[in-house]
């Protein structure tokens, strides 16, 4: 981690991600309050950025067609987008590590079945599956987290499986076995901590990917539902006002790019710092 921060990409990436995180967490302190408040719609709608509405309230990024403050919605929307990104990747990592570790540690047919299942799941078109699954149930943030996690674990499983296989053959593992440690303890205490290094890189890149997918689903109306703001559904709501109020759709897109660039730079720096050459992302 410290080595990654010696790299300018690591510092820049961390800065960008932290910036968005702080804005999202401190949303009530940094913004004018509730993202859903509807006031005097006709008088306060489509206020351009850096301007005051008729009531004298300043709008840093203007207002949308319902007179809601774009900056407030952006900060609160960040809570949803970032939470979906981080939680779904966490789920992917837990699932992928469990399946990958089992496939790498066990021998014989259970390992073959798990590894075959991973290969099969990896070949499924993820976006098609996501669209299908989201539409079958009533879409909401929790469902999106669950589905992104459930369709994103395969690269982690492959990485972990390969790492566990490689480490299982190393002398320190043999040593642990020979002093009488039980198989589960050897896996937990000796093999997995070593196997998780490339997973951190994949997770950093995966967060950006998951955030983009959530935004895409929400844009199509199949993700987080309005009036709860997410960056994706904010872009969708700004789609119809591209001509007279382009700032409504522009701001959340810029935030998406900032966060995803941050995650990618951080992931790149971590990968180079660890000396690995894996290019897998979730």
């Amino acid at each position: 981690m410290t080595a990654a921060l010696r790299d300018w990409r690591g510092r820049a990436g961390l800065l960008l991600v932290l910036l968005a995180l702080v804005a999202a967490i401190a949303a009530p302190l940094l913004t004018g309050g509730d993202p859903g408040t509807l006031g005097d719609v006709v008088a306060t709608r489509f206020v351009p950025p850096f301007a005051r509405d008729v009531h004298g309230v300043f709008h840093l990024l203007g207002t949308d067609r319902l007179g809601r403050d774009v900056w407030t919605r952006l900060a609160y929307g960040g809570r949803i987008s970032l939470a979906v990104g981080f939680l779904s990747v966490l789920l992917s990592v837990v699932l992928g590590t469990t399946i990958g570790a089992a496939a790498g540690w066990w021998r014989g047919w259970p390992a073959a079945v798990l590894s075959g299942f991973t290969d099969f799941a990896l070949a499924l078109p993820r976006v098609v599956l996501l669209l299908l699954l989201v539409a079958l149930w009533r879409p909401n943030a929790a469902l999106v987290v669950l589905l992104l996690g459930a369709t994103g674990w395969m690269p982690v499983a492959r990485l972990v499986q390969a790492e566990v296989r490689a480490h299982a053959a190393r002398p320190f593992v043999e040593g642990a076995h020979s002093v009488g440690a039980r198989s589960r303890r050897v896996l937990w205490r000796h093999v997995l901590p070593n196997a998780l290094t490339p997973v951190i890189v994949a997770a950093a890149l995966g967060v950006g990917n998951a955030i983009l997918l959530e935004a895409g689903l929400s844009y199509l109306g199949l993700g987080v539902q309005p009036p709860t703001p997410s960056w994706g559904n904010m872009i969708a709501s700004g789609r119809d006002t591209l001509v007279n109020a382009p700032w409504v759709a522009t701001a959340p897109g810029v935030m998406l790019v900032v966060v995803v660039v941050g995650c990618t730079l951080l992931g790149d720096a971590l990968r180079d710092a660890m000396g690995g050459r894996s290019t897998a992302a979730l």
Partner: protein, 326 residues
């Protein structure tokens, strides 16, 4: 080589079969069924039961699956609940539009991405390299649907130079020869640019890594020591060596391009598989969802297969390895 292809084709069939089976099961596991969709919210319990019976939904799941599979295999993909048209006809019209968009974008993305990567690799660790790296990271981070909207805002609404929606203008039947081609290209421009800009970023990022690996090879150092000029060195030694991992990635990036196309088709009303899928999913149009899923999975599998074959043709070592293991 042939054995490898046969093996991959079989594996591809397994994936497509798995996808449609999974879709079938998911559609049945989800709340709501086609009878409810068809009859609407005012239907009585008796009407629903009759509707389910007419659609065969009251039979055991295994029977339904087998009968659906046999009809699906014979090309009878059912009729759309939303439009009343055969699902096969809807997909038959849609897949060429998607294939055209994705393939042209693939070629342009890699063509331009390789140039960017070659410039970066030749000037490794220079200011230019860093700038281009930042540019390509940013391109990859762009949400396709948002980039599409921004391009529409600029080129359609602000500058009024390019159309934003569909594959052809309303007057396409009146156009002939050049005018028709120009109309088609103008409609292709924005969706293609959106998909390709993101693709260039992805291709450049990967190709830069592959070329830097190649530059460290002893034969490149030797060629440089003999005094070979950089452009020639890059073209003849570095690029050729780096092509192998790049071709492999080409196949892997087809699914990514295809998923990108799903969102971009929605933005630009591009009548492809992605748009059919999204609309069918939103309308819970089950027969079309099944058909669109099968076609999408097939497109992705065929793309991967093509990349495997090309990788085998480009790299004799891959071929040798496959033959040795076969």
């Amino acid at each position: 080589m042939l054995r490898m292809i046969a093996h991959r084709v079989l594996a591809g069939f397994a994936v497509v079969a798995g996808v449609v089976t999974l879709t079938f099961l998911l559609l049945h596991a989800a709340p709501g069924d086609p009878a409810e969709q068809l009859l609407g919210p005012t239907a009585t319990a008796e009407q629903l039961a009759a509707g389910r019976h007419a659609l065969g939904l009251d039979r055991p799941l295994a029977v339904q699956y087998l009968s659906w599979l046999s009809r699906f295999g014979r090309g009878d993909w059912g009729t759309s609940l939303a439009t009343g048209r055969p699902a096969s006809a809807m997909l038959g019209r849609a897949w060429p539009a998607t294939a055209r968009l994705v393939l042209v974008s693939l070629v342009l993305s890699y063509g331009l991405g390789l140039v960017v990567a070659a410039v970066q690799a030749a000037r490794h660790r220079s200011k230019l390299d860093t700038t281009l790296s930042i540019a390509s990271v940013t391109l990859v981070a762009l949400p396709g649907f948002w980039l599409g909207l921004m391009l529409v805002a600029v080129f359609t609404y602000l500058l009024r130079v390019l159309p934003a929606f569909g594959v052809a203008g309303y007057d396409v039947d009146e156009l002939h020869g050049w005018a028709r081609l120009v109309d088609a290209l103008r409609h292709l421009a924005l969706p293609l640019a959106t998909l390709t800009l993101i693709g260039i970023g992805a291709a450049a990022r990967f190709a830069r890594g592959a070329m830097l690996d190649a530059i460290e090879q002893p034969f490149v150092v030797a060629a440089r020591a003999k005094g070979l000029a950089t452009p020639r060195l890059m073209r003849h030694h570095v690029l050729r060596h780096a092509l192998i991992p790049i071709v492999t990635l080409l196949g892997l990036s087809l699914p990514a391009l295809f998923s990108g196309a799903v969102f971009i088709e929605a933005v630009f009303a591009w009548p492809g598989v992605g748009r059919v899928l999204v609309e069918a999913v939103q309308a819970r149009d089950y027969p079309v969802v099944m058909a669109a899923t099968a076609v999408s999975a097939t497109l992705v599998v065929v793309g991967n297969l093509a990349a495997d074959v090309v990788a085998g043709l480009v790299d004799p070592r891959v071929r040798a390895r496959e033959e040795a293991s076969a």
